[in-house]
């Protein structure tokens, strides 16, 4: 990293950022898996060869030309269900990512701006920061599991619970960045210019302090998919026969142990691939924006 600044390439990059060559089309390939996932989430339920919620053949048929991924112990087509399942988890995770990031940014900014205040506002802000730290220690899956078990699992309730559980991550990132931004000279400049404190927060602190949380969105998305599916796996998520990767894996586990691997392994691999695809695309997007 230090070498790049000293080298001729570094000088050129500093001198003429506008002359950076257009990236070749192949560099966009890194976004392809995530794009495929998005397409699958939208059209998945419409392109399945069989009805994903109906018994279509004998139970536990091995993968063949008719049933590409075989059938599960109830006789439902694993390929159709795996394809159709992309929708539920991706939809929930998208809502949760947007909600948790937005909520986290607002809470983090409030905590960061209010911490050195006196009185009630400072007290609440400091308390919020402590709670954010605590949320780090206790396993999210346990909190989510107990809440969802009591409130029931619909797409809406899962989205709300996961949003609340995942808010601390972006909130902590925003709080730390707010503490840094608060010392910047442009805030003093704006204050001297007569800007009110509330407008200052909105115009100058928010756009700057929100950056780490926005960059972190793909991570939140991955965790949201993982927890939504894990709840399905534990039997507290979206209930079968609605196709959902976690509950499919859960129902396929006993088959897997007796050697009929396809009903658990295919949804598990799709779920893992979906999470890696978004993580890779998110990482690439962040690197691209930073350069």
């Amino acid at each position: 990293m230090t070498l790049r600044l000293a080298g001729p390439a570094g000088d050129a990059a500093v001198a003429a950022p506008a002359a950076r060559p257009r990236p070749r089309w192949s560099t966009y390939l890194i976004f392809l898996p995530a794009a495929l996932l998005a397409v699958l989430a939208i059209v998945g339920p419409y392109i399945t060869p069989y009805d994903p919620t109906r018994v279509v053949g004998g139970a536990a048929i091995a993968p063949n030309a008719t049933y590409w991924f075989g059938t599960d112990s109830a006789g439902m087509d694993v390929f159709s269900r795996t394809i159709a399942a992309a929708r539920v988890d991706v939809l929930i995770a998208t809502v949760v990512t947007l909600g948790a990031t937005l909520g986290g940014i607002l809470i983090g900014m409030f905590a960061g701006m209010g911490e050195s205040h006196g009185g009630l506002r400072g007290l609440i802000a400091r308390g919020t920061s402590r709670v954010l730290d605590l949320a780090d220690a206790v396993p999210l899956i346990v909190i989510a599991m107990v809440i969802v078990a009591m409130f029931g699992a619909t797409e809406l309730s899962l989205s709300i619970v996961l949003t609340i559980v995942l808010i601390p991550g972006p909130a902590r990132l925003t709080r730390a960045e707010t503490l840094r931004v608060r010392g910047e000279a442009y805030l003093d400049a704006a204050r001297i210019g007569g800007m009110r404190e509330s407008k200052l927060s909105l115009r100058h602190v928010l756009p700057n302090a929100a950056i780490p949380a926005v960059e972190n969105m793909s991570v939140v998305f991955g965790i949201a998919v993982a927890i939504a599916a894990a709840l399905g796996f534990l039997g507290v998520g979206i209930a079968p026969p609605t196709p959902e990767w976690g509950s499919m894996v859960s129902r396929g586990t006993s088959d897997l142990i007796s050697g009929r691997w396809w009903s658990a392994v295919f949804p598990a691999v799709f779920l893992g691939a979906a999470i890696v695809a978004v993580a890779v695309a998110g990482g690439a997007a962040v690197r691209r924006l930073r350069n």
Partner: protein
């Protein structure tokens, strides 16, 4: 500064622990009361419940009397480690959980130790041989694999090592079908088996733990490696390293110096990892049917056994927070700048 004043940082931090646990106890208390519908009817889901049944379940759930009375009883019980009785078994929730918690904790602790060892070894290879195939592979893995759910890795590893290669024992329970677990003394089956000198069972438990531990390592080592590789890269490039090489220090000395300078951020992550690993162990408990607290919680969810779920939440939180406190105190001992109220000049 008085002697007490100098010790203030860890005393205050320790005194905060009960308050932190109370936050989760409050959460558990209000969750049952905020539930949509009537928790009592929810439990008596078969419909025709007599008023006596209703009153009995209401009392068992601690839902009789005014909210203030309920809350008072709940807090008094909590102070005496009494979280009520399980509705399904009638036994105290704390006893039921304590019977199973060591099984989950055992997997967590073994997983934590192996994960940390593997992460340091992996990061070392990635930092020392950054262009080798293995080094590159580790870097890619550390960057991308951090979020893959435990049960996905679990299913894939059962498929590979049990179904295909046949080198793992059946992924059901801690011992084979004809073997029995040792009488619980500590509750940690590995220690219990070793205490009575039954090395056959000890080996069997280790063999049955191998896959879940592998899954925890695959799932959680990337979190450490991501941080450690970055700081190792910086430490390798630092003037201190060049100085040591130029003075002709041995390779071992140079590497020890690099590790010592790069380790602190990774140590902080290692401490925070416990909560994640505990969650992972709870999920894997269900996948591998280990009989720990995860399987019990899932069964309690299916039976609408709310007192058990409350206890599960509070106990898991308490264990995590105690470990978090220990890590915090260790970190603050090593690095006084992390102590609260310290002003860094």
């Amino acid at each position: 500064m008085s002697a007490l004043g100098r010790q203030r940082w860890w005393i205050m931090r320790t005194l905060a622990l009960p308050v932190h646990i109370l936050v989760f106890a409050l959460l558990a208390f209000f969750l049952v009361r905020l539930m949509p519908g009537d928790p009592v009817l929810n439990f008596l889901s078969d419909g025709a419940a007599s008023p006596e049944d209703y009153a009995r379940v209401e009392a068992a759930l601690g839902l009789d009397g005014t909210l203030l009375e309920q809350f008072g009883r709940y807090l008094v019980g909590l102070a005496q480690f009494d979280m009520g009785n399980s509705i399904t078994s009638g036994r105290p929730v704390v006893d039921e959980l304590m019977l199973r918690f060591p099984i989950t904790l055992q997997l967590t602790v073994v997983g934590l130790v192996v994960t940390i060892a593997a992460a340091f070894a992996g990061s070392y290879v990635a930092a020392v041989a950054p262009t080798s195939i293995i080094g590159r592979g580790i870097r890619v893995y550390a960057r991308t694999a951090g979020a893959i759910p435990d049960f996905v890795l679990g299913v894939v590893s059962i498929f590979l090592f049990y179904v295909l290669l046949r080198i793992a024992p059946p992924p059901v329970g801690l011992v084979g079908a004809v073997e029995t677990l040792p009488e619980p003394v500590t509750g940690f089956s590995l220690i219990d088996a070793a205490l009575v000198g039954d090395w056959h069972i000890t080996g069997s438990i280790l063999a049955h733990l191998a896959l879940p531990v592998l899954v925890l390592v695959l799932g959680y080592s990337p979190l450490i490696m991501k941080i450690l590789i970055i700081s190792l890269d910086e430490a390798v490039d630092a003037p201190s390293t060049r100085f040591r090489i130029s003075t002709g220090a041995s390779r071992g000395t140079v590497i020890a110096s690099i590790m010592r300078r790069a380790a602190p951020p990774a140590v902080v992550i290692c401490g925070m990892l416990f909560g994640g690993l505990l969650g992972g162990s709870i999920v894997l408990d269900q996948l591998f049917s280990l009989g720990g607290v995860g399987q019990f919680a899932v069964a309690s969810i299916n039976a609408n056994d709310f007192p058990v779920l409350q206890g599960f939440l509070v106990l898991t939180a308490a264990v995590s927070l105690v470990v978090y406190l220990l890590v915090d105190v260790v970190n603050m001992t090593l690095d006084p700048r992390r102590r609260p109220g310290m002003v860094v000049a």
